[in-house]
């Protein structure tokens, strides 16, 4: 049963990841990445991390990918035109990615083959121990991530703002900020 669920979600993740990479229309790529991330969230639940799975769905598919969609529609990117040359580059990239994936997969497979993920104690999957680790041992990084997010929001607003020619103070002010 567990193997069947794992197989379904693993297959779904790999196929939709391939669609992300291969589809020419970026809107479909984003939608396909949503499928990949939701199947990864299901695998997280199977590994005993339901809080992280919920976070992944909320933050990634709820916020980041919506931002991607928004930018794609704002820029009207559309379909990528076919490559003008450099088929060699593509094959080298395919070969190196395959080689890299094979090496990585073989190493990890050989090292952990014997380990089966059996039943787990209920304490591991509860949010309370995770929150305790996060808010005591990792309190400083936690606060720093909050600051980093604030800095990123400010930086994004500044970068995406339409700069006025000549640099004179504009009448519209910050109301026409990019996001």
């Amino acid at each position: 049963m567990e193997l069947a669920v794992f197989s379904v979600f693993a297959l779904l993740a790999v196929v939709s990841a391939a669609v992300v990479v291969l589809h020419r229309n970026p809107v479909y790529s984003v939608m396909s990445l949503v499928v990949t991330l939701i199947s990864l969230a299901a695998l997280f639940v199977m590994l005993g991390a339901p809080l992280i799975a919920a976070l992944l769905v909320l933050v990634y598919t709820g916020a980041i990918l919506v931002l991607f969609l928004f930018v794609i529609m704002l820029l009207n990117v559309g379909r990528e035109e076919p490559a003008t040359g450099g088929a060699a580059q593509k094959w080298v990239a395919v070969a190196s990615a395959l080689m890299f994936g094979t090496i990585l997969g073989t190493l990890l497979w050989g090292r952990h083959f014997g380990l089966a993920s059996g039943p787990l104690d209920a304490e591991y999957a509860r949010p309370l121990p995770l929150a305790r680790v996060l808010l005591s041992e990792y309190l400083l990084p936690f606060e720093m991530v909050g600051l980093l997010l604030l800095a990123a929001v400010i930086a994004a607003t500044v970068l995406a703002r339409r700069s006025e020619p000549g640099g004179e103070p504009d009448g519209g002010g910050t109301a026409e900020g990019g996001r």
Partner: protein, 109 residues
């Protein structure tokens, strides 16, 4: 029947390789960005699986949960990265009317 943890690692390696392929071959900047997000997520899967391995190997709960804490930080930093990166693409598009990375060769040697 339970799944060997190695299955999760192989899946993470496969997703990372697919993301690498996308980042190397695509020319649309946003699709390259999506491939990088895919690579980040595959690493998250590996970290969660390692956290599970530690928990089953008899480590203390606080030690085993560090993997999940790192995933939490990775997700937060990916959000910050996406916000700044997409703002950069908007700025580039405004100046050059394209986000095809082959045409953004101003700083190319």
């Amino acid at each position: 029947m339970s799944v060997p943890v190695a299955g999760y690692f192989v899946l993470a390696a496969a997703l990372f390789a697919i993301g690498t392929l996308g980042a190397l071959t695509r020319r649309n900047g946003i699709t390259i960005f999506l491939s990088i997000e895919l690579m980040l997520s595959s690493v998250n899967l590996a970290l969660i699986a390692y956290s599970r391995v530690l928990a089953e190997a008899g480590y203390a709960l606080e030690a085993a949960l560090r993997g999940q804490v790192i995933v939490f930080f990775v997700i937060a930093i990916a959000a910050a990265e996406a916000a700044v990166g997409l703002a950069l693409f908007i700025a580039i598009y405004r100046n050059r009317q394209t986000i095809d990375v082959n045409r953004l060769n101003l700083m190319r040697w």
